[in-house]
């Protein structure tokens, strides 16, 4: 039995919120890709195209006090969490008005105000961090949930196994979210895992787990509500495997030699935004003018973010080494 509080609210307003967030991420990243070709954004740029339903389904279920650990494909997570699009875009530009002062770039979005503990660019590296955040909160009797996102590629790392084990041994409230997009860069799941049913691995550590259609934002939200509720109530970890697909290249440097165009096309038919939109239309939950209106709002927000980033400033080279170490003796924590 699922408690009523654990079910998604199928109100028109909520559905429009979900739809807007998915479109918001997609259009923001489309803009980023464009800015990348203009060389406004440099370095690595990993787009979330096709996977938006995962962040949008899960993150709003968390409370403000909860914490998030994310990967290098984390623009969507940051935006849904409430990191302002202006500071995210400025970070992509490398401007000091960015959410990490421009020091991190696309892969290292951090935001203390929203407990966003970073884009981590070492596959699997965020999992032990999530364990530590949860341990500190446990020892300080803070009753909160740590949501730790990682791809299925991380499952091959030792840190994945070490972290799941520690979470159970120490009774830590971590929500593990595996974003299984079937490829670790260019290596297909079947080539990297002897057991491709990833959520089963959690059961070896006695962690409750479930797979969910990661292309269906309502299904993801329903699973997230069950999962977050379970973590909070039982003070134990929980494991969600969101089965999804990356519709674009791994990064902007990837010619995608490892997969067929027909495979990508097949997944495009399942892509989360159009699918959700069609479902809402079929159920008469949106009006014909809703999507154009949402898109106009989003485009205005993106235009504002780009203007903010363009107007931003470069950190003076004299400050290059600042914050390698703290500047005052007082540790910056809480």
């Amino acid at each position: 039995m699922t408690a009523p509080a654990d079910k998604p609210h199928l109100s028109r307003k909520h559905m429009l919120d979900l739809l807007k967030q998915t479109i918001r991420i997609r259009r923001f990243e489309d803009k980023c890709a464009e800015l990348y070709t203009q060389e406004k954004i440099r370095g690595f740029l990993h787009l979330y195209d096709g996977e938006e339903a995962v962040a949008v389904g899960i993150i709003p279920v968390l409370e403000k006090r909860d914490r998030i650990v994310a990967t290098y494909r984390e623009h969507g997570h940051a935006l849904v969490r409430g990191v302002p699009m202006t500071t995210v875009m400025a970070e992509m530009y490398g401007k000091q008005e960015g959410c990490s002062r421009g020091r991190g770039g696309s892969m290292h979005l951090f935001d203390r105000a929203t407990n966003f503990h970073g884009g981590n660019a070492i596959v699997g590296g965020g999992l032990p961090l999530a364990i530590g955040l949860a341990l500190a909160d446990h020892m300080q009797s803070n009753d909160l949930v740590i949501a730790c996102f990682f791809g299925e590629g991380a499952v091959a790392e030792g840190e994945f196994h070490e972290s799941l084990n520690l979470a159970v041994l120490w009774g830590l409230p971590v929500l593990f979210v595996c974003e299984n997009n079937l490829y670790a860069m260019g290596t297909a799941l079947a080539l990297s895992e002897s057991e491709t049913d990833i959520q089963r691995k959690a059961s070896c550590y006695r962690i409750a787990s479930e797979p969910v259609d990661g292309m269906d934002v309502v299904a993801v939200e329903a699973a997230a509500r069950r999962a977050v509720h379970a973590v909070r109530e039982n003070h134990k970890p929980y494991f969600l495997e969101c089965r999804t697909y990356r519709l674009r290249a791994h990064s902007m440097f990837d010619p995608q030699l490892y997969r067929d165009k027909t495979e990508i096309e097949a997944w495009r038919h399942k892509e989360p935004i159009v699918r959700f939109q069609e479902w809402l239309q079929a159920n008469h939950m949106i009006h014909p003018d809703d999507v154009p209106r949402l898109e106009a709002e989003i485009d205005a927000e993106i235009a504002e973010a780009v203007a903010f980033a363009e107007a931003g400033s470069w950190e003076p080279v004299e400050q290059l080494t600042r914050f390698t170490y703290a500047e005052s003796a007082a540790p910056t924590d809480r």
Binding site: R67, G98, C99, S100, R101, G102, R103, G104, H108, F110, D111, R112, H117, G118, N120, I122, G125, L127, P128, L129, A130, I131, G132, L133, A134, L135, A136, D137, M139, Q140, G158, E159, E162, S163, N165, L166, L169, T321, R322, F323, T324, Y325, A326, E327, S328, A329, A330, P331, T332, D333, R334
Partner: protein, 335 residues
């Protein structure tokens, strides 16, 4: 405790006990401090450093971990970010390599990479060094490697005072601090002030004053270097012995002041010679005191070989007092 209070206000204590007292003191003084690592609790610590602490403080604060170096080091980083003051014990530097990703890619980078939003006030302790016939996988001295990394601090307590006093100061530091305890020092016994407490962690110390040559060292090699200085004194050579104490940051001022006085320098470092901390110290002397020098800078380091098991080979692989004496005499043209 096997301490004996003597009338002068000093106690007889081992290095191991000094570290343990530092741990007890820190855990008592700050409720955010806890110790975690492999066998720190029920076993009492691989080197018996934390013996008795589990009974005193309980399993939450003396936390045994599985053999998951990366996992629990990362957990220490996360816990530090979220308000605790963890002390992670990596049993030895050899095993720290399994946690190197977390130390280098996360602990050392987070403050800068996050634009100063998150810091990692974490202390990581580990045993280091050769001398116990533990062969190639249990005898590394990699503290010089760690000193290469911006974003962390690296300490090498060579004395009882530092074993007792560096930990608390390291815990007050807002950034990650690595403390390397040389395995050969744990049984070292000596006198320590009964009220010994925190010490600074950013200055080198002159352990013996002299005018003829500067012998610059740290950690386990400190005592071999002092032994060498005594031998040199018998030949009327007055060596000054500098204990670096902090390997990152290095205290250039103390080093250069000494070399400017003695005009000669030998660096003694248990790390391998190529790319060693000794190379860094030597280069700083070359950069900052070249015109003061009367002789080439020289080094006594470990031989470039995995540390072997047999005593005579192990002994030959790492710095020893006779080699230090020979290097000093060569620098003075008295070989």
């Amino acid at each position: 405790m096997q301490q004996e209070l003597v009338r002068s206000g000093t106690i007889e204590i081992t290095y191991r006990e000094a570290v343990r007292e530092a741990l007890r003191d820190a855990i008592k003084r700050d409720e955010r401090v806890f110790l975690m690592g492999e066998d720190v609790g029920r076993y009492g610590g691989c080197y018996a450093v934390s013996h008795g602490l589990l009974a005193e403080f309980g399993p939450e604060r003396i936390r045994d971990t599985p053999l998951s170096e990366s996992g629990f080091t990362g957990a220490g980083i996360g816990a530090a970010m979220a308000g605790m003051r963890p002390i992670v014990e990596l049993m030895t530097v050899n095993f720290s390599l399994l946690a190197l990703d977390q130390i280098l890619n996360t602990a050392a980078t987070v403050r800068h990479m996050s634009g100063n939003q998150f810091g990692v006030p974490l202390v990581i302790r580990m045993a280091t060094g050769a001398g116990r016939q533990l062969a190639a996988q249990h005898s590394h001295s990699l503290e010089g490697w760690y000193a290469h990394i911006p974003g962390i601090k690296v300490l090498a307590p060579g004395t009882l005072e530092d074993a007792r006093g560096m930990l608390w100061t390291a815990l007050q530091d807002p950034d990650p601090v690595l403390i390397f305890e040389n395995v050969m020092l744990y049984n070292m016994t000596g006198k320590l002030a009964a009220d010994a407490g925190p010490v600074d962690i950013d200055k080198a110390a002159v352990r013996r004053s002299g005018r003829d040559i500067s012998l610059i060292t740290y950690g386990g090699s400190l005592w071999k270097t002092l032994e060498a200085a005594t031998a040199l004194a018998a030949d009327n050579i007055e060596a000054e012995v500098i204990d670096l104490r902090s390997l990152r940051p290095l205290d250039d001022t103390t080093i250069i002041t000494s070399v400017a006085k003695t005009r000669r320098a030998v660096i003694v470092d248990e790390g391998w010679r190529s790319g060693s901390l000794a190379a860094e110290v030597g280069m700083r002397i070359a950069e900052q005191a070249f015109w003061s020098l009367d002789a080439p800078i020289s080094r006594v380091c470990s031989e470039e070989v995995p540390i072997p098991y047999p005593r005579h080979l192990e002994s030959a692989a790492i710095p020893q007092a006779p080699k230090i004496v020979a290097a000093a005499k060569a620098a003075l043209g008295r070989a």
